[in-house]
Amino acid sequence: MLALVDVHTYYGSIRALRGVSLTVEPREIVTLIGANGAGKTTTLRTILGAVRPRRGTVTFNGQRLDGLATDRIVRLGIAQSPEGRRIFPRMTVLENLEMGAFARADRAAIAPDLERVLTLFPRLRERIAQKGGTLSGGEQQMLAIARALMARPSLLLLDEPSMGLSPILVETIFKIVQDINRQGTTILLVEQNARMALRVAHRGYVIQTGRIVLQDAAAELLRSDLVRKTYLGEK
């Protein structure tokens, strides 16, 4: 469904991605893990068109994404829950969700999707009229994911959903991630928390200083000691 081939992305003259290649097959959960500054968010930004790769291609269902504007890419069926949640602080939960559905052409189907999303996240239903900025970290994360789901995407990009959350909340979020996937959404999960990510994913890529250094079935990566060594700088 999604394929990055030899992507090099620069910020000015800094090379942030040095030949990243990865694929995401339909109905998979693929996780991209790595330490801070390794290039995880840059990869997502490249996919979404916030930055343009200088070399390499990004294809989605056969269509080239690199070079397209973000709002075009989003209309093709990709949605994101950004790093740091980035919900609209002075808009209500409902309004945030409505913004998630902004680009949809099938406006009649929005109401049932709203219902579905609120069933998935009952806490959001409780707080539907509250302003986004007043929600707790966990609730904001749920809102960010729910908002992305409102676009009824075929591919959902999750950027560090565990950041700033207590372990219990992280478990809850990741369970929901699995539910969403079972309901048919393909997911690319970017995480620093390697263990949780590898437990829910089917496959995993480990990125370090802009390069993919490990890739395997998630279960394999989970068992191996290599991930820890990569993270903590052991040779």
Partner: protein, 312 residues
């Protein structure tokens, strides 16, 4: 006049001034909220609104007091025409002068905005001449207290005061409806709060910005028309002073905050009326600008705004 009669009168004056300031301030605050630009030319759009509305009246052959029937049909028509005109002017300014500088520092578009302001003022000067212009006495002025209620008071409330309030309130209600209940209005707010994420939602940011300039310009045009109807006079330089006072109002309320702009407009309206009366009209400008400076230095987020910290 008794002291309390003076106070009431000046408060009514303040209200009418404040309503006009509020409409102009809303334009400033909306644009700043979404692109972080002080649209220095906005006051001049207000001034052009006054003169353009005059032109529309002339085009429609209206010069004397409007009858009741005409008030209900022609006046709203002129409102719409004027607002459309100024909205288009504001949008054009953004397209030509501000959009190319979207990624520059905050200072470059400010300098450009000053340039545009001067151009507009000079055009008005050439169009209408240097002297103040009489605005057609279109709206009938009736002393309400005396003629409708038979009250003999030194306080002077007219149908024009009703006009100001009656025109401003629906506009604000309409604006509020637009930003809280329509898709594009919400998109505007979202873009102002987090541009990159709004883009990631599929919102066309440039179009949203255009919409903001459109709405802001329309409000300034309405303010110009109301000003003309109320004061029956227009000057090519009035945009500068009104613009700065309205900007003070926007900053006072909290730049980027729409209820704040409305509130700020009222406050500055009252303040300027009271200052004119109790201190001296000669000093009012200095007082208003002192407030501007004090707010920017000591409480830049205004009365209702949120602090936006600078990231290191």
């Amino acid at each position: 006049m008794e002291w309390w009669e003076v106070l009431v009168q000046q408060t009514i004056n303040g209200l009418t001034r404040g309503a006009i300031f509020a409409l102009i301030a809303l334009g400033y605050t909306m644009v700043y909220g979404i692109v972080e630009l002080i649209n220095f030319a906005h006051g001049d759009v207000f001034m052009l609104g006054l003169f353009i509305s005059m032109a529309w009246f002339a085009l429609l052959g209206i010069s004397g007091n409007l009858g009741a029937w005409q008030l209900v049909t022609l006046l709203p028509l002129v409102f719409v025409l004027t607002m459309l005109s100024t909205a288009l002017i504001n949008v054009s300014i953004d397209r030509v002068a501000y959009r190319p500088l979207r990624r520059s520092s905050r200072l470059a578009p400010l300098i450009t905005a000053i340039g545009v302001s001067f151009m507009l003022e000079n055009l008005a000067l050439l169009w209408k001449g240097p002297a103040p212009i009489a605005y057609p006495d279109v709206f009938p002025s009736v002393d309400i207290l005396r003629e409708w209620f038979g009250v003999d008071s030194a306080i002077f409330i007219t149908t024009k005061d009703i006009l100001v309030v009656g025109a401003t309130i629906p506009l604000m209600i309409g604006l509020n409806y637009f930003v809280t209940r329509t898709r594009w209005g919400k998109a505007m707010r979202a873009t102002a709060q987090d541009r990159e994420t709004a883009q990631a939602m599929g919102i066309d940011v440039e179009r949203t910005i255009l919409l903001t300039f459109f709405v802001g310009g329309a409000l300034a045009g309405a303010a110009g028309l109301i000003q003309g109807l109320y004061y029956n006079i227009g000057m090519w330089w009035m945009g500068y002073q009104a613009g700065l006072r309205a900007f003070t109002a926007a900053v006072l309320g909290g730049i980027g905050n729409m209820p704040g702009a409305a509130l700020g407009g009222l406050v500055i309206g009252f303040l300027s009326a009271w200052s004119d009366q109790y201190i001296s009209a000669r000093w009012t400008n200095a007082i208003v600008f002192s407030i501007l400076i004090l707010v920017l230095v000591f409480r830049p987020q205004g009365l209702l705004g949120d602090r936006t910290p600078e990231k290191v």
